[in-house]
Every structure is written in structure tokens, then in C-alpha cells.
Amino acid sequence: MMDDPHFGFIVAAYLAAFIVFVGLLLWIIFDYKAQKQLLAALEASGTRRRSEGDKR
């Protein structure tokens, strides 16, 4: 396959797919961590939703 004249196009297609998929995955992971941190900071300050009972 590597001696195929269009080998570069095949590699580029799979590389692009890898970058897009990993980018999506990393964005979701970092977003999750960011939201968890924000939530933890707010809860540490004593703020609770009404359903959980506001401690202030």
C-alpha cells in the first residue's frame, strides 16, 4: 500500500480523522473537569440547590 501513488491522501484522511476525534474527546474531558471544579468551588462556598437544602 505504501508504494501506492495516492498513499499520502490515505494517510492525510486517517490523520485528519484521528485529530478531529481526539480533539473532540479532549474537549469533552477538559470541559468535564472544568465544570466539576466550578461546581466543587460553589459547593465549598456553601451554596446548595433548593432540592439539596441551601446551607446559607
Binding site: 485528519a16 480523522a17 469533552i28 470541559d31 468535564y32 466550578l38
Partner: protein, 247 residues
């Protein structure tokens, strides 16, 4: 089942177990599919090795419309039933669908250059998929245009349902118009025209990537639920501060 998981807390408990299983099964099946695509599937008698691009291009194309279908169903859930998770689902799937549509356009272009002699042509299939990508971009912009997620959800739902008219155009564009893009060769009346030696690896990759897409969708929904909790708590904290200042 619909009502059982209407509660975001219950849904979060469910996806905590579902995401790792979906991701593991999806990765395994996709890896098997790619292995079969490169080790067992033959080169095409006309396209040669370039046909290997099909194993990433076609699943991306299917998922670009499948994600929009999920977004349209979620939008109906938002507008008709006001299901608490419907607009969360619609918002979470939008960037995933946009990513698969972008990948479909990019890999199609990389396949088109060596096979058609051009990166791009304004035929009905390519143009309708580009329109699909632009609709995704518009919906993402709309989600970010509103401060209130409930208002954003309703506006995005209306736009999504209007944009859904493009889905049958994408699907049938190759039948309705004379296009450079080939007609359907898997999901068609009369069965697939593609050889089983190529079809099975393609289906394995498609199933694997679909499971990964569902795992990503659930993970993005979890993020959105957390983002809304952060927003609610932030507003509560601000209210308490205001009360403190007044008192």
C-alpha cells in the same frame, strides 16, 4: 424508560456505567473493523488502495446525518414535551455532528482529488453536505447567543427542525440530480452493491464509531447538566450576596 431517565440525576447515574462500556465496545469494534479494512479487504479494481479512505469517509457521512436526526428528535422533545433532557441532548450532539460532517467533507475531498481530479465540485451531494455543516455551525452559534439555556433551547429547536428539511436532500441528492458523487451503494432498495469483503469491515467500523459517538454524546450531556447546575448555583450565590448587601 423515557420517563425513568427524565430525571437528570437518574440519567447521570445511568451514564456513569454506560459511558465506559460504550466507549470500550466501540473502540474494540472500530479497531477490529479498521484491522479488517487494511488487512483483509482488497484494494478496489479501479480505485486501487485509495478505496481505504471509504472506511472513514462513509461512517463519518452516516453519522453526520444520524447526529442531526438525534438533534431533530431531541428538538421535538423540547418543543412538544418539554422533556428536561431534550435540549441538553440537542446541545450536546451539535458539536459532535458538526465534527463528523467536517470530517466527511474533508475525507471526501481527500478521496475526490485522486479519483475525480478535483478537491471540490458543486454537485448536489457535496453542496447539501456543506449546507448541513453550515446549519450545524448556525445552531452552535445560536446556542451561544442566549444567556438563558431554556430560551436558547427553544430557538435552536425551531432552527433544527427547519434545517431537517436538508436531511432527505442529502440522502436522495444522488438520485434526484445528476451528480459526480456516486449513488448509494449500501442502504438502497435491492440491497448493497458493495462486495461483502469490503462491506463487513465498513459495517464494523460504522458500528464501532457509532458506539463511540453515543459515548461522546452521553459525556457531552453530562457536561451540559453540570454546566446548568453551575449556572443555577452561581445565580443562587449571587442572590445571597445581593441579599447580604441589602440587609
Amino acid at each position: 424508560m423515557n420517563l425513568a431517565f427524565a430525571n437528570p440525576g437518574r440519567f447521570l447515574a445511568f451514564i456513569r456505567y454506560a459511558i465506559p462500556w460504550l466507549a470500550a465496545c466501540g473502540a474494540l469494534i472500530a479497531a477490529l473493523g479498521f484491522y479488517a479494512a487494511f488487512a483483509y479487504a482488497p484494494a478496489d479494481y479501479q480505485q486501487g488502495e485509495t478505496v481505504r479512505i471509504m472506511y472513514i469517509h462513509v461512517p463519518s457521512a452516516w453519522l453526520s446525518t444520524a447526529c442531526y436526526g438525534i438533534m431533530a428528535l431531541s428538538s421535538i422533545g423540547t418543543l412538544v414535551w418539554r422533556h428536561p433532557l431534550a435540549d441538553v441532548s440537542a446541545k450536546a450532539i451539535a458539536p459532535i455532528g458538526a465534527a463528523f460532517t467536517f470530517l466527511c467533507l474533508l475525507t471526501g475531498s481527500l478521496w475526490g482529488k485522486p479519483m475525480w481530479g478535483t478537491w471540490w465540485v458543486w454537485d448536489a451531494r457535496l453542496t447539501s453536505v456543506l449546507v448541513l455543516f453550515l446549519i450545524y455551525c448556525g445552531i452552535l452559534a445560536l446556542w451561544n447567543a442566549y444567556e438563558d439555556p431554556a430560551r436558547a433551547g427553544r430557538s435552536a429547536a425551531v432552527m433544527t427542525l427547519v434545517g431537517a428539511i436538508n436531511l432527505p436532500i442529502v440522502k436522495f441528492s444522488v438520485d434526484w440530480w445528476n451528480t459526480l458523487h456516486q449513488p448509494a451503494s449500501v442502504f438502497r432498495m435491492g440491497g448493497p452493491t458493495i462486495d461483502p469483503s469490503m462491506l463487513w469491515p465498513l459495517l464494523l467500523v460504522a458500528i464501532g464509531i457509532t458506539l463511540l459517538m453515543v459515548a461522546l454524546h452521553f459525556a457531552a450531556m453530562r457536561n451540559e447538566i453540570l454546566r446548568r447546575r453551575v449556572r443555577t448555583l452561581g445565580m443562587l450565590a449571587a442572590t445571597h450576596e445581593m441579599k447580604g448587601i441589602v440587609e
